[in-house]
């Protein structure tokens, strides 16, 4: 793979080894300028390890990596100068005020004090924290900290922002505020890399995404492509009396394209969910509950890995 001109991140066979095991196991990536690129995967999939290599905070064990056209091994500070990172743990300065957190972070990038203060003011508005400027970070709620961490990552006006689980632990309203701000950044042409456990978030936000599992990429594309290419269009979720499952599966064999048996329910996939449900009723086996819905990234993940995204 040769790096392309608009590639912000280019990786091939990128690997990270911790104590003999590959946390990231030979992945290829091509992230283009201006897109929102997602990493979806369960705990321990290697998302954070990948982010840290891209952010030049962790040397790669093998493979190739170019970020902003440069090699992290030799140009760490230079690359980081153009990156904003929102780490999985906020790593804010809890003894300092919200405003000071922004100011000192800007100073790390070598920005002039006056300039940093002006930018901090704007970012406080952006993150809806203007009325908290002099509050100690210790006294902020989790959602406010997250917003501050995002605001902080923008102080250097980076061309690439890496967000490691930006909305984990937030209430729905706070999540939507974060999404809104991320859309705003995208419209300004900033490249965003996001990791998440939430398939609705990935579907909403990402132009393209990869599904990671045990250090490998098991699927990639736009959310629509991934769904269309991996699973049938619709799903019927059934909860059944214990013991009824085998008989039903035999009876449905000709009506469904694939079946996933989960701990508490079975998922039947096909192009027409209602037709499947009719076939179920025709068998005379009555499910405890049933639900017909469109296939999502969650189903993609299940199909690709045989496991659920949030375990």
């Amino acid at each position: 793979m040769e790096p392309l001109r608009d590639e912000v991140v280019h990786a091939s066979a990128l690997t990270k080894t911790f104590a003999g095991t590959n946390a990231v196991d030979g992945i290829d990536l091509s992230i283009r300028r201006g897109e929102v690129f997602g990493f979806l995967g369960p705990n321990g999939a290697g998302k954070t390890s990948t982010m840290r290599m891209i952010a030049c905070m962790s040397p790669r064990s093998s493979g190739d990596l170019l970020v902003r056209g440069l090699d992290p091994t030799f140009a760490g500070p230079e690359i980081r100068a153009g990156i904003g990172l929102v780490p999985q743990e906020d790593a804010l300065d809890s003894e300092m005020s919200v405003f000071d957190n922004l100011v000192i972070y800007g100073r790390y990038f070598g920005l002039a004090r006056r300039e940093v203060r002006a930018r901090a003011q704007v970012l406080l508005e952006f993150a809806q924290l203007a009325d908290r400027a002099s509050t100690k970070v210790d006294h902020l709620s989790g959602g406010m900290r997250r917003r501050l961490a995002i605001a902080r990552s923008l102080i250097s006006r980076p061309e690439l922002v890496i967000l490691d689980e930006p909305t984990t632990g937030l209430d729905p309203q706070a999540r939507h505020l974060v999404w809104d701000r991320l859309f705003q950044l995208r419209s300004e042409g900033v490249t965003l890399i996001i990791t998440t456990h939430y398939m609705d978030e990935a579907e909403q936000l990402c132009d393209r995404l990869v599904v990671m599992d045990r250090g490998r990429i098991v699927g990639e594309g736009t959310p629509r492509e991934l769904i269309a290419s991996t699973v049938p269009r619709e799903v019927v979720e059934l909860r059944l009396n214990p013991g009824a499952t085998p008989a039903l599966l035999v009876a449905l064999k000709d009506h469904v394209e694939r079946v996933e048996q989960l701990a508490d329910r079975i998922c039947c996939y096909g192009e027409d969910g209602d037709a499947i449900l009719e076939a179920v009723i025709a068998t005379g086996i009555h499910p405890l509950s049933s639900l017909v819905r469109r296939a999502t990234l969650e189903d993609v993940f299940l199909a690709l890995t045989g496991r659920q995204l949030i375990e």
């Binding site: 905070m57 962790s58 760490g76 300065d93 100011v103 790390y108 990038f109």
Partner: protein
């Protein structure tokens, strides 16, 4: 010094920039803006010792002999207290505060996502302890001068010498702390500092000890600092003082080498 630091075998990812290190100092200054009281309080401890021991006990003791000269006890003990002030100025930041930032606050992880490098962080923290140590040592030296405990203009050399002591304790403190994983480990710091303070020739000369113990105390970094400062404050200059200087410089380089390696391992695995 720059050349030596740049030559330390750190691998290609580690770079050093004085300007970037300065922002680490700046962060600490901003952090202490709200807590300036704690900063100032550290200045009074050696001052109280100087009053109690130098002036108080000094009246009982009268004069003492040091390197063949007879001096007042206050003038004898003051440089020892100056060395301790330099040590104390360094040690709290290099241990407790450093541990807090490293393990609890993850301050350095945030820093390392910016252009700052591990070496910038190590040098920056060292620089901050130097700022703090100089505040204490400079103030104390001024008071010594007022009390007449500085016997020649050579005493001005006490300031750079106190800088060396501060840096040496800071570097060793940072290096040791980078290996600590729990708060309890920090308890060993107090356990080490108090005997150093009491037994490193601060309050009385080495001749109070039997021969073998004298050699042990000579190895103590604080003794090296005390001996250097005492000679400078009393104007007893000799080329042998360079041995103390060399000892302290080696300690600084060793500590810095260890801490930057450790930080690279811990923070950028």
């Amino acid at each position: 010094m720059i050349a030596i630091l740049r030559a330390l075998p750190m691998g290609p990812t580690v770079t050093l920039s004085w300007r970037r290190s300065a922002h680490v100092i700046e962060r600490n200054v901003m952090n202490y803006r709200r807590n300036w009281f704690y900063l100032v309080s550290g200045f009074f401890e050696p001052l109280f010792y100087l009053l109690a021991v130098g002036a108080g006990v000094g009246r009982l003791v009268g004069t003492v002999q040091t390197s063949g000269h007879s001096v007042s006890y206050a003038a004898f003990v003051a440089p020892g207290l100056l060395a301790s002030a330099a040590m104390n100025g360094a040690i709290f930041d290099a241990t407790y505060n450093f541990f807090f930032k490293l393990k609890v606050e993850r301050t350095y992880e945030a820093m390392l996502a910016t252009p700052l490098s591990v070496m910038d962080v190590a040098i920056g923290e060292l620089g901050w302890t130097l700022v703090r140590g100089m505040l204490y040592a400079g103030g104390f030296l001024a008071i010594m001068a007022v009390f007449g405990d500085c016997h020649s203009y050579d005493a001005m050399l006490c300031l750079p010498a106190a800088m060396l002591i501060t840096l040496a304790f800071a570097a060793i403190g940072l290096a040791l702390t980078s290996y600590m994983s729990q708060w309890q480990h920090l308890g060993t710091v107090a356990l080490a500092v108090l005997p150093l303070f009491l037994f490193s020739g601060t309050f009385y000369g080495l001749d109070a000890y039997p021969g073998w113990l004298q050699e042990v105390v000579r190895c103590s970094p604080l003794y090296q600092g005390v001996a250097l400062l005492r000679a400078l404050a009393l104007g007893h200059l000799s080329a042998l003082l360079l041995i103390h200087v060399l000892y302290l410089v080696l300690l600084i380089l060793f500590g810095l080498f260890v801490v930057s390696r450790r930080l690279a391992r811990v923070l950028t695995p």
